[in-house]
């Protein structure tokens, strides 16, 4: 079990104010929402030792991926 490796997971269903079911690539698991706020189904959260540590900012994720793509576009220009 990888204790420290945290992964992004999609929130499928809220159980109550403090817990939810997430989908980790097909595996459904109950996690605690005690450390985050305003989570709704469809949000991605960073899950670590059974707790959501933060909501994943989907816009920022797209921006980072766009930055990688930009690098690859620049490389093409250079070659």
């Amino acid at each position: 079990m990888l204790m420290c490796l945290a992964i992004p997971a999609c929130v499928e269903q809220l159980i109550n104010e403090n817990s939810a079911i997430v989908n980790l690539g097909g595996i459904r698991k109950e996690i605690s929402l005690a450390l985050v706020a305003d989570i709704v189904p469809g949000d991605y959260v960073i899950v670590h030792v059974g707790f959501a540590l933060q909501k994943l900012d989907q816009m920022e994720a797209e921006r980072t991926l766009a930055m990688f793509a930009e690098i690859s576009a620049l490389n093409k220009e250079n070659t």
Partner: protein, 382 residues
């Protein structure tokens, strides 16, 4: 899986690598320490070293929580677990850490101690609820990522009125470890390692934010780039570090913007501040005694503090003499520099802690890197 696969695209990694190669100065070397065990694991698993020019060197840091816990504290946990009627709950990674006499929590369990492997501190609470006639101790370890979950458990135990639940607290702090590596005279005596910049931890930074690193950047003039755990994140962070160094900058930059805010997770920080306070000093494997580098439970939560409820002596136990974990944790030596690496010490039969956890530098190198170097040498000879 979404937000994982797209950050592992091989073709993009090649492109970032080409960018790195085109931007490095051939006049110098670049030494970067990845503090966090998660990055060590990613660098080994995805073969990132092979994508970097020869003058860019990655140094493994002490950011594997399982690896830095000194043997004395593991021995304490074993003795607790051997207390009749006591249930010790531990994260799985801790179970195989060997102590001085070859003992481990796993062996203690085989000999009859009631040790339960838990995935989460919440599981330990459930075990305490189900076993009111037993004392249940949660062996809490880890950096800033596992501390808030422990805090939640203590709060929950208080709310539930559990009088059989305590925490053996071993939580440690990332910023103090980094500054210790940079400024401690003892660490310098043990061997100096040149560091030009740091890859800042991913999930530790999710909790503490990017602000705590401003101090290093300014005080030590070392750039810090916080990176996610996926290979493209690490590659991009290396590129950002190279750019800072080439431009003579020493700033904190954040590559992991999808999860790290400048102030971090304030809700988690508040909870931690309510329940824990700084220890004056704490022993780290590899770093020795580091002032203000760990947390203890505040006296108002003493009812949930295993160190208050049980006799837990301060034990200082030296590492196995042949084991180089200490030097490896400081970045002074590499796993392959250790005489017993891969022969006497393997993941199946670990001698040192770095071989136990998958985030440990030795385990990562054993699983993913040990044939790479041989192949490289062979290629050169051909």
């Amino acid at each position: 899986m979404k937000y994982i696969d797209e950050f592992r695209t091989g073709t993009l990694a090649q492109k970032i690598a080409a960018k790195i190669t085109s931007e490095v100065s051939l006049q110098r070397d670049y030494h970067f320490m990845e503090f966090c065990g998660g990055h060590t694991h990613a660098i080994s698993r995805f073969g990132i070293i092979d994508l970097l020019p020869g003058n860019v060197h990655m140094i493994h840091g002490p950011g594997c929580p399982v690896c830095v816990l000194p043997i004395g504290r593991v021995e304490n946990a074993i003795r607790l677990a051997q207390t009749p009627g006591l249930i010790l709950c531990s994260y799985g990674d801790m179970l195989r850490i060997p102590t001085a006499n070859g003992m481990s929590l796993l062996k203690a369990k085989a000999q009859g101690a009631d040790i339960r492997m838990v995935y989460s501190s919440a599981d330990a609470i459930k075990i305490a609820q189900k076993n009111p006639q037993h004392q249940v101790v949660f062996f809490a370890i880890g950096f800033e990522t596992t501390t808030p979950p422990t805090a939640v458990a203590i709060r929950q135990a208080q709310m539930l009125g559990l009088n059989n639940f305590t925490v053996f607290c071993n939580h440690v702090l990332t910023p103090s470890a980094i500054s210790h590596i940079l400024q401690s005279a003892e660490v310098r005596q043990l061997g100096l390692v040149p560091i030009d910049g740091f890859i800042g931890p991913a999930h530790v930074s999710v909790v503490i934010g990017s602000q705590p690193y401003e101090y290093f950047a300014e005080e030590f003039q070392k750039p810090v780039v916080i990176a996610g755990f996926e290979p493209l994140d690490v590659m991009q962070a290396i590129l950002m570090l190279i750019r800072q160094i080439n431009a003579g900058r020493a700033e904190v930059e954040n590559e992991f913007t999808r999860a790290v805010l400048p102030a971090g997770n304030i809700k988690a920080q508040r909870l931690v501040a309510e329940i824990f306070e700084l220890r004056r000093i704490f022993e780290w494997r590899g770093l020795g005694l580091v002032p203000y580098s760990a947390l203890k439970i505040k006296s108002c939560y003493a009812d949930f503090d295993a160190e208050q409820r049980f006799q837990i002596p301060a034990l200082s136990i030296a590492d196995n003499k042949a084991c180089e974990c200490g030097a490896i944790l400081r970045g002074v030596k590499r796993p392959q520099d250790c005489k017993i690496f891969g022969t006497v010490c393997t993941p199946e039969n670990p001698i040192g802690s770095c071989m136990v956890s998958s985030e440990g530098a030795c385990a990562a190198h054993y699983s993913y890197g040990r044939f790479r170097e041989r192949n490289r040498t062979a290629r050169k000879e051909n």
